[in-house]
Amino acid sequence: MSIENKTVESIPAITIRFAGDSGDGMQLVGTRFTDTSAVFGNDLATLPAFPAEIRAPQGTIAGVSSFQVQIADFDILTPGDNPDVLVAMNPAALKAHLHDLAPNGMLILNEDAFEEKNITKAGYKVDPRESGELDGYRVFQVPMEKLTKEALEEFDLPGRAVLRSKNMVALGLISWTFNRPLEDTENWINDKFSKLPEIAKANIKALKTGYNFGITVEAFHHTYVVEKASLPPGEYTNINGNIGLSWGLIAAAKKADLDLFYGSYPITPASDILHELSKHKNFNVITFQAEDEIAAAAASVGASFTGKLAVTGTSGPGLALKSETISLALSAELPLVIVNVQRGGPSTGLPTKPEQSDLMFALYGRHGESPLPVVAAKSPSHAFYAAYEAARIALKYMTPVILLSDNYVATGSEPWNLPDIETLNKLDTNIITKLNTEDGFLPFLRNVDTFARPWALPGTPGLEYRVGGLEKEEGTGNVSYDAANHQYMTDMRAWKISNIANDIDKLEIHGDESADTLVLGWGSTYGGITQAVNRLNEKGVKVASAHFVHLNPFPDNTLEVISKFKKVIIPELNTGQLLKLVREAFLVDARGINKVSGETFTAQELTDKIEAIINE
């Protein structure tokens, strides 16, 4: 479309935040804009944020839901710090998010929502548009509801259904402003509402109305474009952590020649893994929605006993409930992956917010001496590989493995350079089909390299054996109360796990290796930490980073890496859990940067805090 006085400014990156009532469809608008940008070829990262309540009271701050996306023409690692553009669908959304908007940022308001009632409900005493508090921003008022009503007059739809389409007006306008074609979203709408063609048409009309508003109104004639990113060549998809993790499990099962069993009880934010896996029954995936968290874990132990790649998934409170069952898998030495998508705790805590506060619980949250491997996903696409790695360790070492994700990894998305499935390593198992001694079957006769016991599956003649939670005699697996045997088995279970340190990727140093300061992280803070270190290096500040994927055992070169630096800084979304582990294991006077506000670190926040510690 050629518009006479349209200008297109090319910019390297932009961060846009959509905010509105939780019923306003902001997640949808954000996802659509993200997908269109992904297909266009931008690098991107997203951060959805929504209330724990499905529909908190309309118009209140408690009910505000938002979706932030950063798109860029270069390789980015985070969804951006402060948004450059804020779309606020009502006064509450404005109130909740204005403080994050960058100076001189673009503020698009749905002016129809700024009635006195809504303004008061949001907690404003005066209309913020008149109080001067929007000075310093570029404010664009758009009558989104009026536009929607007029546009959809021709459709025979109830008033509420009409207003529901106002998010499409917003999306249309943003698409115009950032030079994104509508086709991708039109196709999506047609597909989604294929059985409701009237609704599909109405939504497309609303989308175009927003776009055309941009064409018509001169204020929107200065537009922007973020060019394609120069990402490494490859085929990409846009993926969030819950889906990446689910696919990683499916891939692991396939590459181990096993079927996948996933036992779970619905819990935020892990439920999407259950939803995703339930779709893929044609991969022989069995999903078991259990009566409770304990049953989800217990059925997974049963599945593991029969030779499945057994996985149970949950979030913090559910992990607490599974604790005893995990100990059973550990004692019976059965492979099991336990997924914990961490959220704010303790107790019900902040169900929809990210936190890394279950690290100690993953390592130590069991009775008795019960070490097990812990693996953490560091980004949405890495969740695929982390799941694969957790399964590899569980199957190879006949042990439960805890796989940590968090709400930030789980719901955030990024482009993923797809791997060549052929090149993914096959996964070994300890399945046994014949007697392992001349005198009979010894279910606890271990592999001399891995200390793993053989995995005899029901249905295999001659290997009938019994296993349980009582202490077992090494070799025979018979119940044993012998003192020396218990000492030996306790030590053996610990050796088995610590021995894995030799069989995992080494800890790698990123950034300036000659620096005196190392920033050490784990899990979802990867993007923020790496970006902060990059920014500091660009500024000439000497600093490096390293990121743990394996939290137990640590890679065998960890001490060597840490010893190269004088200062170790550990940023975490908790009060200092990895910090304690590192101080204890390596006797270094590490410093923490800690936060439990229900939000992740911004790259700038980390940049400033790391620099301040370096300069002390």
């Binding site: 992904a38 059925a299 049963g302 030779g307 009938e464 054996y465 296993v467 349980g468």
Partner: protein, 338 residues
Amino acid sequence: MSKVPVTYKRTDMQSDQEVKWCPGCGDYTILASVQNFMAEMGISKEKIVFVSGIGCAARFPYYMNTYGVHSIHGRAPAVATGVSVSNPDLSVWVVSGDGDSLSIGGNHLIHALRKNVNIKILMFNNQIYGLTKGQYSPTSEEGKKTKSSPFGSVEMPLNPMSLALGAEATFVARSIDMDRDLTAGILEEAKNHKGSAFVEIYQNCNVFNDKAFEQLTNKETKVANRINLVHGEKTVFGEDGHKAVVIRNGIAQIVDTKDVDESEIYVHNIHEENPSIAFSLSRLSHGPYGPTPLGVFRKVQRDTYTEEVHSQIQMAKEQKGEGELDKLIRSLGTWDVS
């Protein structure tokens, strides 16, 4: 299941582990009944899995020369669900006690029954906590004096038959340790049942709750107190059948046989779809006191969870084809960067 019927000797079903229940425990009799039954059940032993929780009864798998999991307290039905649904070819048996099944594991029991998972649950009910040395259990009678209830239990006990029927169980039966023939008959019925079977077996704990079932075992009293439920037969009991069960306004009642017309006497039908009569029969006693029904209460057909899960997998494969990883990771749309 094996095509050629397999038969074993009882000793083939015995593991090499020494049985360690207290001398005189009812569990010995049940173990013998189960081993005898399994030897002739016609299923090869590598396809049999015993799953238990915690408690005296839960040691059972260690004594069977089959596959077995001695799991954790109360969770056996959940573990067994995982076993059954993962490999529908297995014959999966849960051995549990009244504390394990009805107290700590109540939730798993009702859901396994509701879902009709293809597992057979044998609940040994001794109305006491034995392994922890004698506290009252959820089936102990009100007023029961134990170490944890020196002034008598103030709790209403559960009626396991009523509970199972209320939980939509498709197979519900009760036996008693001393009656090996009754147990064997019920095990056979349970084995042939498609779906979950719940079998309560009254089991004497001679150490902490001796003679709890005496009214049903003592020569003097058992004839008067055992109501044997037999499919297709009139429900009469007592000396020369002088007592009968009739259903009036949907409620089971015990009457003197001579006082009713023969046609009014309840003819037991285990296949009755509506569970109300079976439930009403379960209310004839609330514990082994006075006339108590024994035998199969209910045996009806319903799709099993185990089969349904696999038929959905089959259906998905027919509709979408065998899963391919290459397609999966591209299923959300991709773009190329060159």
